[in-house]
Symmetry: C2
Subunit: 421 residues, 2 copies
């Protein structure tokens, strides 16, 4: 993933969570349609309209060949005019399309702007799908005509379905908390189901809240929340040309106001955004292409998070580890070898404990005394596998880091061999 | 791979090559046997004996959790006593076996030493196979008893077969040249067939020559030759716990003498070792597990080789690129996206040309003008795919770098899911 990030703030729990269905954020309108960009006939275009007093924050891919819509969205966010709409198409990424790709985005955002009475700079465009194909602009135009007609309070479920590509499940998370009698609502949708690492298909996520917050404060929160969610499911900085995460707060008269960083409400809101982002990220991992197992890697006793990421990258990206997981084969040596291949000088056979779930595989210089092939098989058969590597480190400040990945199946190869055909 | 490397010397062509079958290097004796380490009944133990006046050079894995035999071989090479034998077992890597693994190696090398009248320090042990399993030491002992009985001029073909694990083909390369009437012979064997990157199964290679050369000069050559061969088939420094490359020159009265670095013979010998190593490395790529296609990546116009390695790592390790190759699907955007995901600041959409074979896919800011889906399909159907990325760079000193990889097939997943079972 590797979306941009800046801040790191201590967490707090929100004070009250109520689990009933939230249908909408006041003022935010949705529409979806089938513009025919996909071969399969299903919705492939999403328009989200929000009032101009909304606070909009976004983080984008670090890919050096970012898609045309990413470049335009970034530019429009810097414009003095306040954003008021998001348009997302699936099926075609409009990346690797050069000057024509940019012209196409300017054309359809201008067209949409006229239809909804704003300037093109107020529209944030996003795309996901095949790279190096041009958008069929006529289909986009007739799609937009449909969208503006149908712009109303359609469901977030439909919205999340319209942005899917190889996803097998749509991804929506909603939550609300009541703080001092004021309702704080949050609704997030996401798409993405690629193998988490090393190659993730485009991740898009759009999160809406009804908070009253400044852009400066919200920017702190978006960076922090991406860092703690989407950037932890990818472990080697891989990024698609189109990855984007947008956080929009649309306040009403009754909104919770977040005044400054010391405000109790700031911490509650921040935690809520992090929670929602983590849940969306987790849904992406769970929907890994062809994945049958979920891998959680916990590394402790390492002072430098960069070193943890190097280790995580080696283990989570190891095709040998991934295929062993897929086969439920306790080929534990592959984990051991992947760890050593990180070439970090502090790794010595005597200074770490390696566990799979609660089974000790390696115990400071020798194979775990209670380890047996049978016990290994028992653990590897589970759907959720936790690999825990604990380095013996006297420095109690050394933190614990978590990463997520999945197995590699024949279905993954199948899905990705046939994606365009 | 990432074996150690130090030097970089300009190449020259050898003056005369004769392609007839070389059967042996005088004084070098081989034996293979089935010690029963493998479930399948075939040779799994190899002994190579060579005279004590031989010059022995070796490079080893940089994996921080290197196998017991690697640690002992390294130590024995530093001993004052001259090496005179190599023993290699397949099936079990003796890595992740801690103190017991080391004790096992000392036990069986000592046992072998008594049998062939030398010290244990004169024996270089190597292993390849499953990690985190102990060697069945009784089987090793009875295997050694067989080996020493049969130690004679058996074939290099048999030797190369005894060290195979998931290899589908054994790997032997031989060559001889006549220089000023003196015959220079070289015979190399190798094993290794893992997906080249990101996770290569153990690579072992043993190369023998009849040259008369000092250890100091031969060390220059081994480093240079690994750098130009095995280290170029792996692109992200991944290393197994057991990777090793050994170069042994056993001189006779009639040997070509290599006196110093300015010697004509030095350059001929050096080129011969590089050629043999490249051929062995290429055989490993060709034998990629489940591979149906060979990918050659050529990057030009980049001044820093490290940057080329980062780009190569992204493209050669991209599961999306690998599955597209496997499906013969010209999903060219995946190559474009993988390039951008390297996050190198000099990459801009307008400053490079991307070709698949001779077909221009991307031409400084736009899709190649003569590109069509049909033409893409034609190129992607080929067994050998060359991806060429040429950066527009006015600095004529910028070098061209080549990397090798292969596709990802369902068979790869199948092979690696079932490796131990």
């Amino acid at each position: 993933m590797a979306l941009e990030k800046n801040t790191n703030i201590v967490m707090e729990k929100s004070n009250q969570a109520l689990n009933y269905e939230i249908k909408k954020i006041d003022g935010v309108k949705l529409a979806t349609t089938c513009a025919g960009l996909k071969k399969k006939k299903r919705d492939d275009l999403l328009l989200i309209f929000f009032p101009k007093n909304s606070t909009v924050s976004a983080v984008f891919t670090k890919n050096k060949l970012a898609a045309a819509p990413v470049l335009i969205a970034k530019k429009n966010l810097l414009s003095k005019k306040k954003s008021c709409a998001i348009i997302v198409n699936s099926s075609i990424a409009n990346a690797g399309t050069g000057k024509k790709g940019l012209e196409d985005v300017i054309f359809y955002t201008s067209y949409l702007a006229k239809k909804i009475n704003c300037d093109a700079e107020q529209i944030l465009p996003f795309s996901t799908g095949v790279i190096m194909e041009y958008l069929p602009i006529k289909k986009m135009v007739s799609g937009i005509n449909c969208l503006v007609k149908e712009l109303s309070y359609t469901s977030w479920d439909n919205a999340s379905k319209a942005i899917m590509t190889t996803d097998t499940k749509n991804k929506v998370v909603k939550k609300r908390v009541i703080i001092d009698g004021i309702e704080l609502k949050i609704i997030g949708i996401a798409k993405g189901s690629g193998m988490i690492a090393p190659n993730m298909a485009t991740m898009l996520s759009f999160v809406f809240t009804n908070a009253l917050i400044s852009k400066k404060l919200q920017n702190i929160i978006i960076n922090d929340s991406v860092n703690k969610s989407f950037n932890n499911i990818s472990v080697d900085g891989d990024t698609s040309t189109n990855d984007s995460y947008v956080l929009i707060s649309t306040p009403s008269d009754k909104s919770l106001q977040i005044k400054n960083k010391d405000d109790k409400n700031f911490h509650i809101f921040r935690q809520l955004v992090i929670d929602i982002s983590k849940k969306l990220a987790r849904k992406i991992v769970d929907d890994g292409e062809g994945a049958t197992k979920l891998l959680k890697l916990i590394i402790s006793g390492v002072e430098n998070k960069k070193h943890c990421k190097i280790i995580a990258s080696k283990i989570c990206n190891s095709l040998l580890v991934k295929t062993a997981l897929n086969a439920s084969d306790p080929n534990i040596g592959r984990i051991y070898s992947a760890l050593g291949s990180s070439e970090l000088s502090f790794i010595k056979k005597d200074n770490f404990i390696l566990k799979v779930n609660d089974l000790v595989i390696w115990d400071k210089g020798k194979i775990g005394s209670s380890y047996s092939e049978k016990k290994g098989q028992y653990e590897f058969k589970k759907k959720n596998i936790v690999i825990k590597i604990s380095f013996i480190n006297k420095d109690s400040s050394a933190d614990t880091y978590e990463f997520y990945s999945c197995d590699l199946s024949k279905e993954y190869v199948e899905i990705n061999s046939n994606y365009r055909t």
